[in-house]
């Protein structure tokens, strides 16, 4: 008897179908496969076009500034001198800040969901946490401007600067609309993705790992730590996935970060990110050079997020596949 795969091979192989179903069916199969292939190639074409179009449109800026674009901190549209350093710095610091804040919260949530929550509650809490990812970016921004920023300005930032003010991070007047607010809102936005992926990775850890630890007399927390160390590269992947999200996030950050192209050590100073400068200035960019400088920032952001995402997906894939095969 033919296995299903062999049967399919027979049906799709030219000539073979004549024996089984007649020539017209073979033609239909070939047409159908070609049509689906055509659309699939469309996906590849989009990615290719995206890179080509952005590279083409950013060449004026690249020719003019070369690699000094990456290290210059002068952003002067009037004089047409452009350097992306303040934005690269802002994106890096805000994303890093978001990771630091979100990490304990989302890993803790993942542990609760995977290791502790009763079955009925697990589905509900998982769903609610994932709903955080469904709220549009602009809604986070609105909440950030009118609720989070005033709260930070009046309560959190004065407290931080009076207790930790000896650090350069927490110096200066408190605005509420600053790097700190940007990092905080990003932290909330990446929490659902980090916690959902970490939860899935943790739940893929074979139960025998925990049972072995418990049988040796470990407490539940110690058994959880065994599971955590078993799943660590997958959790790392989840965190990097969150980082990728934070790097490219635009609207909410634009609305709360203050949009000033400066590199300041203090988190209480207004700042700018790669995504936010594009969102803010693209429609105002009247000259070709100005626009091409913004597109070059976009290309840079594209390349960085792709690399980060690829690393993350490789980690998560490898772990969850490996775990599934072992437990099967």
């Amino acid at each position: 008897m033919l296995k299903p795969d062999e049967l399919q091979l027979k049906l799709t192989a030219p000539g073979a179908a004549t024996d089984l179903t007649g020539r017209s069916a073979n033609l239909g199969d070939r047409i159908f496969k070609s049509v689906t292939l055509l659309f699939a190639v469309g996906v590849i074409a989009i990615v290719a076009l995206m890179i080509i179009e952005m590279a083409r449109n950013s060449t004026p800026a690249f020719h003019k500034f070369g690699f000094s674009f990456l290290v210059s901190s002068i952003w002067d549209p009037v004089q047409e001198r452009f350097g992306a350093l303040p934005f690269i710095y802002g994106t890096m610091v805000s994303s890093l800040l978001a990771l630091i804040i979100s990490l304990p919260l989302s890993i803790g949530t993942a542990i609760y969901l995977a290791e502790q929550a009763p079955a009925g509650l697990r589905a509900l809490v998982s769903f609610l946490v994932e709903l955080l990812a469904a709220i549009p970016s602009v809604a986070y921004g609105l909440w950030g401007i009118f609720v989070l920023a005033p709260f930070l300005r009046q309560h959190v930032e004065p407290a931080l600067s009076s207790t930790l003010g000896f650090l350069p991070l927490f110096r200066g007047p408190t605005h509420g609309i600053d790097m700190f607010a940007g990092g905080l809102i990003l932290a909330i936005m990446i929490t659902p993705i980090i916690s959902a992926v970490s939860r899935d990775v943790l739940m893929a850890v074979p139960q025998s790992q925990r049972e072995a630890a418990l049988a040796l007399g470990a407490t539940r927390w110690e058994a959880t730590r065994v599971a955590l160390s078993y799943a660590r590269s997958g959790i790392l992947g989840a965190v990097i996935l969150g980082l990728g999200r934070a790097l490219g996030e635009t609207m909410a950050v634009t609305m709360v970060i203050g949009n000033r192209p400066e590199t300041s050590l203090s988190l209480f100073d207004p700042s700018h990110t790669m995504a936010s400068v594009i969102a803010n200035e693209f429609t105002e960019a009247t000259s070709d050079l100005y626009r091409s400088a913004l597109i070059e920032i976009g290309l840079l952001l594209f390349v960085v997020t792709i690399i980060v995402q690829a690393i993350a997906r490789l980690l998560v894939w490898r772990v969850s596949r490996g775990l599934k095969e072992e437990s099967a």
């Binding site: 299903p4 699939a40 989009i46 970016s137 809604a139 921004g141 995504a275």
Partner: protein, 284 residues
């Protein structure tokens, strides 16, 4: 004695850490409820009938609305589906049925890449591809930008849903003498269509809330949509402009618009959740 103490210590650490993880989960849920609560309270109080049916009016004039932006968002979603669904669904079918080789792996990887592209970059792409050659901002450019965001989501969900269809169904069709393409379209796709539809709904909920890709493609418009090659208003861009503007009245409208938008998106998410749970366990 020392063993007892270390056991007690380990017990305390156990309780402490497990308690902390519970607090983390509570905090995450609390954040959701706080944000939704603000949107509900501030948004609902600013709502009235004019808000849904009228055009934006100058500051001080009563009866201002975002009717054009609501229609605009629906048109943009329609365009995105028109451009994005065929590519998304057919490439998903390709991946599920023929995507075993190296090409399939590459395609799957590129689909994931596309999922991770920041939405502002998608906006730049649509700008260079559509706005520059057409020399004007347009609804079409906005629809293309949203379609690019939608495609990878639809592709992956189509593939996954088709893979869930039992092999025996496909084999039964083939055994009855159906050619492969009839078995796929008539049996596999038809069995998976419910799952694909819910995936498409989630994709729509996602693009309905996108702002960044519309800023310099669809741009915005103060009037009712008339033609697809003109700038068009959308709820998200309107909310952004109102929220960052100087007037108290605009801020009220931004909250109201957000309330309408978030309500729409949440309804889709909850409905999809209920539908998929009754069909197959914990998926979705």
């Amino acid at each position: 004695m020392s063993i007892d103490r270390s056991f007690a210590y380990r017990k305390i650490i156990d309780r402490l850490m497990l308690g902390l993880t519970t607090i983390c989960a509570l905090l995450a849920v609390a954040l959701l409820l706080i944000i939704l609560g603000y949107i509900a309270v501030r948004g609902f109080s600013a709502l009235n009938l004019d808000f849904f049916t009228q055009l934006p009016k100058p500051i001080g004039e009563p009866g201002s609305g975002i009717g054009n932006a609501i229609v605009g968002t629906l048109i943009l979603i329609g365009l995105a589906c028109l451009f994005g669904l065929p590519i998304g669904i057919f490439s998903g079918i390709y991946l599920a049925e023929f995507g075993t080789g190296r090409f399939g792996t590459a395609l799957r990887f590129l689909t994931d890449v596309l999922t991770g592209v920041p939405s502002i970059v998608t906006g730049i792409f649509a700008y260079t591809l559509i706005v520059l050659p057409m020399r004007r901002f347009s609804a079409i450019a906005g629809g293309v930008a949203l379609a690019v965001i939608m495609i990878p989501v639809v592709t992956r969900v189509t593939e996954e849903m088709m893979r869930l269809v039992p092999r025996s169904l496909r084999e039964a069709a083939l055994a009855l003498g159906a050619p492969q393409w009839r078995a796929i379209t008539g049996v596999v796709v038809r069995s998976a269509i419910g799952g694909i539809a819910t995936g498409v709904m989630l994709a729509i909920a996602r693009i309905a809330g996108e702002t960044a890709p519309l800023l310099f493609t669809a741009l915005g418009n103060r009037f009712w949509p008339r033609s697809l090659d003109e700038p068009i208003a959308s709820m998200t861009v309107q909310i952004f402009n109102y929220a960052t503007g100087p007037y108290e009245e605009w801020h009220r409208q931004a909250w109201a618009g957000t309330f309408v938008l978030v309500t729409m998106i949440l309804i889709i998410n909850v409905a999809v959740r209920l539908l998929t749970r009754s069909r197959h366990g914990t998926a979705g």
